[in-house]
Amino acid sequence: MARWLLARLGRAALAAWGIASLVFLLSRLLPGGPEQAAQPEAGDLSRPVAGRQSAASQALTQQALRQRLGLAEPVFYVSRVAGPPVTWRWNGLHNQYHRWAAQVLRGNLGQSYRNGQPVTTLLAHAIAYSLPLAATAAGLAVAVALGLGLYLARTPHGWLPALVRTGLAALQVTPLFLLALVVVLLFANPDALNLLPDSMLDGEPATGLPALGYWLARAALPLLSLVLAVLPSLTLPLAAALHDEAALDYATTARAKGLTVKAMLWRHALPNALLPLLTTLTELLPTLVAGTVVVEVLFTIPGSGRLLAEAAAAHDYPLVIAGVLLTAAVRLLSLVLADVLYFLADPRLRPTA
């Protein structure tokens, strides 16, 4: 069993490495990649000297910049030299990919092109905002999904369950950015309802209990958006599974024993219906991380999602690749988590003593 888990994790880790390598190589091979990000903008008025430089000195500056960023070396182990006689050259270990891979394996993700800060520092600061947000959203979503699923299974008929079902189905196709935008425009708009502030960073953080209230009030709308976004994919399968389980013989036996529908669902049907839900959970955490990109941009939370979006908009590749690696790591984590939960939920899978 441990070997199976290890093989699964190994495959996922390999895929994560592959996709990060792909993004790295594409970023270096496509025209107008890294140098563009590090160059001062053409219309940047704060550097009037740059406009008056001669062409030769500009070329020198460019060369120095490439040298400093490590872009002067060949990109990969082999490179193709264009020209009428096309030749292939073996570059040995002195290439950008090898250097990058070695650095990443040592835990060094490089430095941001924009301000030269280490990527690990930037990410660590950003995760301090994103992790609590995503974790709280995951916990809330699972709790609400359990409640709603049990409710839908208990009362299959009536107008309220039908309404809930329709609402969930509509939520399922609504993209998160539209959902979050509607939430912002409805609840944090001076012209509509201004219940809650939509920005986390205006006002001063207090200490102690008021601080908790402050952060809760600030996080309410982002949390609402994230929970609503992942709720249908958790609730609808759970309700269907509960419905199926409740029609089986053991459920009838439990009811004949005198249990209420509620107790039967909770004690007998739920453990069986949970198993398919655990597979959904594997996808839940990565989806939430992807969701934080949109939500953090919209609510201006300085978390990892917004960091990734801003880095992508500014061609800041070390940060973009770090974001991809981080997301892949989250997926690895959720794979492990789902497997552990499987063992806990299903006694048949546990190794017999």
């Binding site: 996709i19 950015f177 425009l185």
Partner: protein
């Protein structure tokens, strides 16, 4: 897939969905000939964030303008056209690619054997495409010719099967889907679009690249089921060549789940593309789409009409696609 003739009122959701999608398609197709008073991307600086015409002010800005003075109605029309020109071909391409890859992987598994000589020839062609040194080609050609001669001779002499190698098709396809599934699609799309603004053809290619694994997995799973059915055994017993069995008998059955899946896939891709436009990553600033219009409402939160039009259009389109997917799923079941 033509739906069977139903009385129009038996499935109101389905017919309403079809009508809405038809409207979007018609508007998108006819966009260049519609008599619109203003172009989509050009700002009208005299009328910034003007409310719709029926609420008062604006001259001929029927649905108002956004914070940059761009006409909302023209933006809606251009957005519908973008849907037709970008998302629809991307889904078509991804479904085609995914169906073929999944069906091949599911039917032959890792056991498709090709003659070694053919493999060498293929390799030679690949080297030629990458323009490796000339002498390499000659070496490969000589090797493959020699192999061909040897195989012919041995076949004639010993009546043996040709020298073959197994192509790990299933491993390749599943490996590619695992690779692309390692991070959520939005993250991957953001990372791939991080360079210079993508041309429409490039964006289409990237979207198709992100979307093909799902149909591939679906068709592969179905093909594994179909492969074991008796009618395929009968086809084999009657002596049909493998390729013909695959194309004529197995593929249509393996592609059945795609009918209900493709509308959902299209909806997912439209949402993904809109999210990218909303974030403003990898887009030229003058490209107008429903996603970028929704993003512009953040500059003037009071101008609800900027968000209402594209938001409703997007939501209706996605709900319609869901309705159609549901109808097709019920029909195919």
């Amino acid at each position: 897939m033509k739906p069977s003739p139903l009385p129009p009122l038996a499935q109101p959701g389905y017919w309403l969905a079809l009508a809405w999608l038809g409207l979007v398609a018609a508007v998108g197709l006819l966009a260049p000939w519609l008599p619109l008073p203003y172009p989509a991307a050009a700002p009208d600086l005299l009328h910034i964030a003007t409310p719709p015409a029926w609420l008062g002010a604006g001259p001929a800005h029927y649905l108002g303008t956004d914070a940059l003075g761009r006409d909302v109605l023209a933006g809606l029309v251009v957005g519908a056209r973008r849907l037709l020109a970008l998302s629809l071909p991307a889904v078509g391409l991804a479904t085609l690619l995914g169906a073929l890859a999944g069906a091949t992987a599911g039917f032959w598994g890792n056991r498709l054997r090709v003659p070694l000589a053919a493999a060498t020839g293929l390799l030679a062609a690949a080297w030629w495409g990458w323009s490796l040194p000339i002498y390499f080609i000659f070496i490969l050609l000589i090797i493959s010719t020699l192999l061909l001669i040897i195989i012919k001779w041995r076949r004639a002499a010993a009546r043996q099967a040709a020298l073959t190698v197994a192509l790990p098709l299933d491993g390749l396809v599943m490996g590619a889907t695992t690779l692309l599934g390692a991070v959520p699609r939005l993250i991957l799309l953001v990372a791939l679009a991080a360079g210079t603004p993508l041309a429409p053809a490039q964006l289409l290619g990237v979207l198709a690249l992100l979307a093909w694994p799902e149909p591939a997995r679906l068709v592969r799973a179905q093909m594994l089921r179909v492969r074991a059915l008796p009618f395929l055994e009968a086809a084999r017993a009657s002596g049909l060549p493998e390729g013909r069995i695959w194309w004529h008998h197995a593929l249509p059955h393996a592609c059945r789940p795609l009918w209900a899946f493709t509308p959902l896939s299209l909806g997912g891709l439209i949402g993904l593309e809109s999210a990218l436009a909303f974030l403003g990553i990898g887009q030229a600033p003058d490209v107008v789409s429903w996603g970028s219009m929704l993003a512009s409402v953040r500059q003037a939160p009071a101008a609800w009409w900027v968000a209402a039009g594209p938001g409703l259009a997007l939501l209706l389109t996605l709900l319609s696609l869901q309705q159609i997917a549901r109808f097709l799923a019920k029909k195919m079941a």
